[in-house]
């Protein structure tokens, strides 16, 4: 149940061509930039190393302020299957480990297919900045 690499690659290439910083989904230290360019969100899979359908996993997420040096006020992660109109069946446990890093536990993308992961960063003024990433699980 690894990622469908060909389709993911196509999406990744399309995002790169569109100026996004997506680096695919099969390895560690993947990143993307929020839609307004303020933050870079880098996520690192921990256990296990590859996301598989219906297998619990954990991630570390690092949020870098590209325009300043203010630590984010908050960070939230979610994932949904737009075609199915549902999200995950778990509540993600997010623990802030330092000013810019969160440990995410209890993640489970429980079906194969297209998932959209969203990384929502709240800045010092309470404004929400969103980075998103599409992953396709086989």
């Amino acid at each position: 149940m690894q990622f469908v690499s060909a389709k993911a690659l196509l999406i990744g290439m399309a995002l790169l061509l569109a100026g996004c910083a997506s680096t695919g989904h099969s390895g560690l230290n993947q990143s993307n930039v929020t839609e307004d360019g303020r933050y870079r969100v880098t996520w690192r899979k921990t256990t296990p190393e590859a996301i598989k359908a219906n297998e619990y996993f954990e991630m570390f997420v690092e949020v870098d302020d590209l325009r300043g040096n203010s630590p984010p006020q908050d960070f939230r992660f979610d994932a949904t299957m737009p075609a199915h109109r549902h999200g995950m069946n778990t509540v993600v446990n997010a623990t802030r480990t330092d000013d810019s890093t969160w440990q995410l536990q209890d993640l489970n993308l429980h079906m194969p297919g297209e998932w959209v992961m969203t990384f929502d960063v709240t800045d010092e003024n309470g404004v929400l900045h969103r980075a998103s990433e599409t992953v396709i699980l086989e």
Binding site: M1, A53, N54, Y56, A83, H84, R85, H86, G87, M88, N89, T90, V91, V92, N93, Q105, D106, H110, M111, P112, G113, E138
Partner: protein
Amino acid sequence: MNRDMFTIAICCLLVAPTLAGELPAPIKRSALASSPVPPPPANPTNRVADDPAARQFGQALFFDPNLSSNKEVSCATCHDPALGFADGKPLAEGLKTGSINTPTVLGTAHHRWLFLDGRADTLWSQALGPIESDLEMGGARTDVVRYLAATPKLAEAYAAVFGPLPDVSNQQRFPDGARPGTPQWESMAEQDRASITQAYANLGKAIEAYERQLEPGESNFDRWVASIRSGTRDDAIMTGAAIRGFALFAGDAGCMQCHFGPMLSDLEFHDLGLPPSDPAAAPMPGRGAGFPLLRASEFRADGPWSDAPKSTKARRAASARIGPEHWGSFRTPSLRNVAATAPYMHSGQFARISDVLRFYNTLEGQVRRHHHAEAVLVPLELNASQLLDIEAFLDSLTGDRPPNSLCVPPEGFGIPKP
């Protein structure tokens, strides 16, 4: 040539030669990911889950009707070994007729959530529910413990696994019929309630130890996949229809969106918008009702009676989420042994597999009860031949029956065969 015949002919031209040669890579990957069934996952919340003495004690309990209020209903009443450890009825019938179809116990130790609405997160906590349900066995934990204490063989078997039973000889401290929610229970001291509940939880753990042995059994599909894995693919193990059916199942029909992995289930919850078996009955909330029951259960994996309340297994209930889309959803059943466990769906809506496939094929009668409902299903629009192929594949999932020794009460306990 009509449209169906034309499609069949095209399928024969396109599919049969492909399957006769090298399997398409995605189909092969799906086959290898679907078999064999591994041993059940460890359950650290039950320290006797794989204890031989607990297995035998649990087997005695499973077949013993004396745990019920009328001494006539046992676990095996609804989970009949002769009927694929189900009951062959649309709705479960214990002391009364319930509202849910009886799922098989075969392979149940692989499930993440128990009961079709997921109100339990371990097999041992599931086993405790029916004993005290007025619809099913109507028992009470004090009566059950008193019965064990009065039955030397069972008391010995309990003691060998868990230590001595609590002394329940004082009728005032341990009144008959005491279980949570009754005045008798409220009259008991907290310490006495705890000692009875500990013993009661232990019974569930013994029943789990027995049920963990009830595996789906090796099927022709498993044997076929084993031949693929070994590099000597032997299509004679399966029928041609079953192989074509698997290719459809894993391919264009999209069945593996929910039915994948060795158990052919995502182990989670979905609302298919099934037509109700009784249109006059209130819609069933499914997970919408099961989730709060799970949250409230004293027997949760992270609760006081768990043997590992901080384990990863115990985290699952704490992190489970309920959302609007879960209302009306039920657990995806395993398709292992599906041909042996008719009728189908959570209310036994469909008598035959062909009826189920017809529903998926057209979605005729589907009921969308709310706008939050998920949208996983689209009509398959397969032809009659393709539906028969999928049915043949599902037939190929019938596994070898568990050993006879697991299908009857164990020797020496004086429990009659059901």
